[in-house]
C-alpha cells in the first residue's frame, strides 16, 4: 500500500461520503427525540426514501424531483407514525418497530421492477478543483451537494436547538410536555413537526444511498444504517456535534477495516467487521461521560405518551 498523500486524501473523502447517510438520519432523529418522541422507524423511513428516490429518478429522469420526492416519502411514512403515536397515543417503541418492518417490506415490493436498472450519475460540485489541489482537493471538492448539506447540518441543528426560539420550544416539549402545554405551547403540533422533519431527513439519507453513494436499487440496501443512526443519537447524548464525530468514526473505521481486510492483516475478519460498532460506542461514551451534561441534554420525556387533560 502506498501511503502517499493523495491516497490519504482520497481515503478521507470516501470516509466522509460513507458517513453522510448516518449524519442525515441521526440529525433528523435527534430533533425528533429532542421533542420527546422516540421513533425507532429510522431504518424503515430510510429504505422508503431510498426506493422512492430511485424509482422517481428512473420514472422522471430528474434528480431534483427524485431527491425532493424521497424526502416527501419520508414525511408521509413518518406521518403514519405521528398519527399513531400523537393522535391515537400508541406506544412509541412498538409503533417505531412496526414502521421499520413495514418500510422494509413495502420497499422490497415497490422495488421489484427496479432491480438491476443502472443509476444515473449524480452531479458533483467543484470537480475541477478536486484534481488541481493535492490532498485537500479530493476531500473538499468534487462531492455532491447532499454531502455538503450533511456536513453543515449538525452545526445548523446545534444552532437551531441552542439559539433559536423554536429550538427552545422543542427542548421544552421534550423536557416536560405537561409544563409546555400549561404554558400554552401546542405540544402535539410541535411533536408532529419534529417527527415529520425526522422523516424528511431519513428519506434524504435513503436517497443518498440509492442515488449517489451506490447509484442503484438493491433490496434492503440500507443494511442496518438506520439502527446505527439511532444508536449514534443516544451515544452522542443528543448533541448534534457529537453525532457528526460519531458518524465519522463509524464511517472511518468501516472503510479502514475494509482496507485492512484487503491487505490481509492477521486479525480475524469477524473482529474487523465488528470494530466500527465497538470503536464508535467506546469513543462516544468516553467523550460524553460528563453526567451533568448528559442530564441536561437528555429529553426527559423521551418515549412517553403525552395526552392533554380535558
Amino acid at each position: 500500500m502506498s501511503l502517499d498523500i493523495s491516497f490519504i486524501g482520497i481515503l478521507i473523502g470516501s470516509i466522509m461520503a460513507s458517513s453522510v447517510p448516518l449524519i442525515l438520519a441521526a440529525s433528523g432523529e435527534l430533533i425528533t427525540e429532542r421533542s420527546g418522541v422516540l421513533n425507532l422507524g429510522v431504518e424503515g423511513m430510510m429504505i422508503i426514501g431510498a426506493i422512492s428516490g430511485f424509482a422517481l429518478m428512473v420514472i422522471t429522469d430528474n434528480l431534483f424531483i427524485a431527491i425532493v420526492g424521497s424526502m416527501l416519502s419520508g414525511v408521509i411514512i413518518s406521518l403514519i407514525f405521528g398519527f399513531l403515536t400523537q393522535s391515537l397515543l400508541t406506544n412509541h417503541v412498538a409503533t417505531g418497530l412496526a414502521l421499520t418492518i413495514f418500510g422494509i417490506g413495502l420497499s422490497a415490493m415497490l422495488g421489484k421492477n427496479f432491480v438491476g436498472i443502472p443509476g444515473k450519475e449524480f452531479p458533483v460540485l467543484f470537480s475541477s478543483l478536486r484534481e488541481s489541489i493535492p490532498f485537500f482537493g479530493p476531500i473538499l471538492f468534487g462531492q455532491s451537494i447532499v454531502l455538503y448539506f450533511a456536513f453543515v447540518l449538525p452545526f445548523l441543528t446545534n444552532y437551531f436547538l441552542k439559539k433559536t426560539k423554536l429550538g427552545l420550544v422543542v427542548r421544552a416539549v421534550g423536557d416536560s410536555p405537561v409544563s409546555a402545554s400549561n404554558q400554552g405551547i401546542n405540544v402535539i403540533l410541535v411533536r408532529y413537526c419534529c417527527i415529520l422533519y425526522g422523516g424528511a431527513m431519513c428519506g434524504l439519507a435513503g436517497a443518498y444511498l440509492s442515488l449517489i453513494y451506490t447509484p442503484q436499487w438493491i433490496e434492503n440496501m440500507t443494511a442496518g444504517r438506520g439502527w446505527i443512526a439511532l444508536a449514534l443519537v443516544v451515544f452522542a447524548t443528543w448533541s448534534p456535534i457529537k453525532v457528526l464525530i460519531g458518524a465519522l468514526i463509524f464511517g472511518g473505521i468501516t472503510i479502514l477495516q475494509l482496507h485492512m481486510q484487503a491487505i490481509g492483516f492477521r486479525i480475524p475478519v469477524q473482529f474487523l467487521s465488528a470494530l466500527p460498532y465497538l470503536m464508535t460506542i467506546i469513543v462516544l461514551v468516553v467523550i460524553s461521560r460528563d453526567s451533568r451534561k448528559i442530564k441536561l441534554n437528555t429529553p426527559t420525556s423521551l418515549g412517553r405518551i403525552f395526552y392533554k387533560e380535558k
Binding site: 427552545l168 416536560s176 409544563s179 400554552g184 441536561l296 387533560e309 380535558k310
Partner: protein, 499 residues
C-alpha cells in the same frame, strides 16, 4: 385599576366524582383570598378551570364584568390571570432564563432587563443562567412567580404554595405576596393549612365535596371554626383511653438491635431493646433522620441484621423476610405511600392484591382470582370510606388521605396482631388524619398491638400508651404516656436528658 373576578355556577363532573358543583365566588383586588378545603374538595379543579387547563362542563368566569372564554392556558395568560401550580411547571433541564423566555414576546435583551428589575424589586436572588434542576424548591417557585409577574398579571393564583417550602422560604413568600397585593394584584391562595389562612389572608372561602360551604372574613375565624367547616362535622377531640394493665402478655420483643452502615446517609442503630404488649400502642418519637427509616426497615424485614433477636408471638422472627412476617400476622405501613406502600400506576384492586397471602385466596394455582380481589377491594373502599367505589381506578389518582386509607385497609386484611406504621398521617388534611387516628385506636381496642413511629408529637401523645424517643440511633427509656408532656419529648428529641 381595580380588578373584579367573578366565578358563576361552575360545574365539572368526572366519571364517578363531582369535582365542582355549582361553584360561585367573587374576588376583588387589594385583598388576599384563601380557598380552603381538604384534599379532593375540588380546589385544584377550580383553579385548573381558572387557568384554562381544563374547561368546565357548566358556568362562566367574569373578569371586570367581561365574560372570559378560557379554553387553553394561553387564554388565561392573555387575560392576565397568572397561576403558580403546586407541581411546578418548569423545564428542569433548561436554564432559568430559557424557562422565562419561552413564552416571552420581546427580545432576550430587554427581557433580561425586565427580569433583573423584578429580581431587584422583590429582593429575589436567583442566577438566571443555571439549569432549573439545580435550584431549591423555594427558588423554583420564585421562577414561577417571576414568570407570572413578567406578564403584569391582574390575578395571581397560588396552588398549595407552601407544601414544598421550608419555614424560612414560607415567610419570604408571604412577604412577597403581601407586596403584590398592595400593588393591586388580586391574590387567590389555595391551601389546606389553617394557620396560613389566618396569618396571611383577608377572606376565606371553604370548599367541601365540590361545593362552597362558607365565605367569611378571616378575622372572625379561628383554627377550630375553619377546621369544622372544612371537615363538615365537629372534630371529636380524641385522646386514647389508656387501657393497659401491667400484667398483659408481651407479644413483641426486640433485643440487641444493632445496625451499622457505611452509607453516610444512613443512621447507625445502637443496641435497641423494647417490647410491645397485647393491645398496646408503643410510640417512637424523634426528629426525622435519627434512625426511624432504618428501624422501620429492620422491623419489617427489609433489612436483616445479625445477632438481633425479635420474638413475635413466642417465635423468633429476626431472620424472616417481609412476606413471611406478614404471613405470621404482622402488618406494615411505610412512610412513603407512593413508592414504598403502593404502586401508583397500578389499579386499586391490583394494589390490594400485592399482599398475596396463602390465606387470602387471591391466587389459585398461580392464576389471579380477579373477582375475589375486586370484591375484597370494594369492601376496603367502603369500610375505610375511600371516596371512590371504582376498583379499576389507578392508585395515582387517589389523594394522599384516600391512598393511606386504602393502604391501611389492605394491611388489615389478615387481622394482624401487630401493625407497624411510620408517619401514617404525613401530609394529610385534618379529616383524613382524624379518620386514621380513629382506625389506629380501634385496632388497640380489639386487643391488637401497634408500633407508631412518628415525627408528630401531638399524634404520639394522642395515640400511644407508652412512648420512647429515638435520637441518633439510640432509644430513650420507655415512658408511660400519661407521664409525658410535649416539653419532655422536645428535650429528648433534641438530645437532652430528663430525670
Amino acid at each position: 385599576m381595580a380588578t373584579d373576578l367573578r366565578i358563576s355556577n361552575i360545574s365539572k363532573i368526572y366519571p364517578g366524582c363531582v369535582a365542582n358543583d355549582n361553584v360561585s365566588l367573587q374576588f376583588k383586588s387589594g385583598k388576599i383570598y384563601a380557598l380552603l378545603g381538604e384534599n379532593g374538595a375540588g380546589k385544584s379543579t377550580l383553579v385548573k378551570i381558572l387557568s384554562g387547563v381544563i374547561s368546565p362542563d357548566n358556568g362562566e368566569v367574569f373578569l371586570n364584568e367581561k365574560n372570559l372564554k378560557l379554553n387553553s392556558p394561553l387564554d388565561a395568560k392573555k387575560n392576565k390571570i397568572g397561576m403558580v401550580f403546586q407541581h411546578f411547571n418548569l423545564f428542569e433541564t433548561l436554564s432559568v432564563f430559557e424557562n422565562l423566555s419561552i413564552d416571552a414576546t420581546e427580545d432576550n435583551k430587554s427581557l433580561r432587563v425586565r427580569i433583573n428589575e423584578i429580581l431587584k424589586k422583590y429582593n429575589f436572588s436567583i442566577d438566571l443562567d443555571v439549569p432549573v434542576l439545580n435550584l431549591s424548591a423555594g427558588q423554583k417557585q420564585k421562577v414561577e412567580i417571576i414568570r407570572c409577574l413578567l406578564r403584569s398579571p391582574k390575578v395571581l393564583i397560588m396552588d398549595e404554595p407552601t407544601s414544598v417550602l421550608t419555614e424560612q422560604e414560607t415567610e419570604e413568600l408571604f412577604i412577597s405576596l403581601k407586596k403584590f397585593c398592595d400593588e393591586g394584584i388580586l391574590i387567590i391562595y389555595i391551601t389546606h393549612k389553617l394557620k396560613e389562612v389566618l396569618s396571611l389572608c383577608d377572606e376565606v372561602a371553604v370548599m367541601r365535596k365540590g361545593k362552597v360551604v362558607s365565605v367569611s372574613q378571616t378575622q372572625n375565624e379561628k383554627v377550630e371554626t375553619l377546621a369544622n367547616k372544612m371537615v363538615g362535622q365537629k372534630l371529636a377531640k380524641i385522646r386514647k383511653k389508656i387501657n393497659i394493665s401491667k400484667n398483659k402478655d408481651e407479644i413483641f420483643k426486640v433485643k440487641h438491635l444493632n445496625f451499622y452502615s457505611d452509607d453516610p446517609f444512613e443512621t447507625n442503630l445502637i443496641n435497641l431493646n423494647f417490647s410491645v404488649k397485647k393491645g398496646e400502642c408503643l410510640g417512637i418519637a424523634g426528629i426525622s433522620g435519627n434512625g426511624q427509616n432504618e428501624l422501620f426497615q429492620i422491623l419489617s424485614g427489609e433489612i436483616i441484621t445479625p445477632d438481633t433477636s425479635i420474638i413475635f408471638r413466642n417465635k423468633e422472627i429476626a431472620k424472616l423476610n417481609p412476606k413471611q412476617r406478614r404471613e405470621y400476622l404482622m402488618a406494615f405501613s411505610p412512610e412513603d405511600r407512593i413508592s414504598q406502600a403502593a404502586v401508583p400506576e397500578l389499579k386499586i384492586f391490583e394494589n390490594v392484591a400485592l399482599n398475596n397471602f396463602k390465606s387470602s385466596n387471591f391466587f389459585e394455582k398461580g392464576l389471579v382470582n380477579e373477582r375475589k380481589i375486586k370484591e375484597h377491594s370494594k369492601k376496603i373502599l367502603s369500610d375505610f370510606s375511600v371516596n371512590t367505589d371504582n376498583v379499576e381506578l389507578k392508585s395515582q389518582f387517589l389523594s394522599g388521605g384516600n391512598l393511606q386509607k386504602l393502604i391501611l385497609g389492605r394491611e388489615l386484611i389478615t387481622a394482624p396482631e401487630l401493625l407497624i406504621c411510620y408517619n401514617p398521617t404525613w401530609g394529610l388534611d385534618v379529616g383524613a388524619i382524624s379518620y386514621i387516628h380513629e382506625t389506629l385506636i380501634k385496632i388497640n381496642d380489639q386487643e391488637k398491638s401497634t408500633i407508631l413511629i412518628s415525627t408528630d408529637t401531638e399524634e404520639l401523645l394522642k395515640l400511644s400508651d407508652r412512648i420512647a424517643v429515638i435520637y441518633k440511633g439510640t432509644l430513650s427509656k420507655i415512658m408511660p404516656s400519661e407521664e409525658v408532656t410535649p416539653e419532655k419529648l422536645g428535650v429528648l428529641m433534641g438530645g437532652g436528658s430528663i430525670d
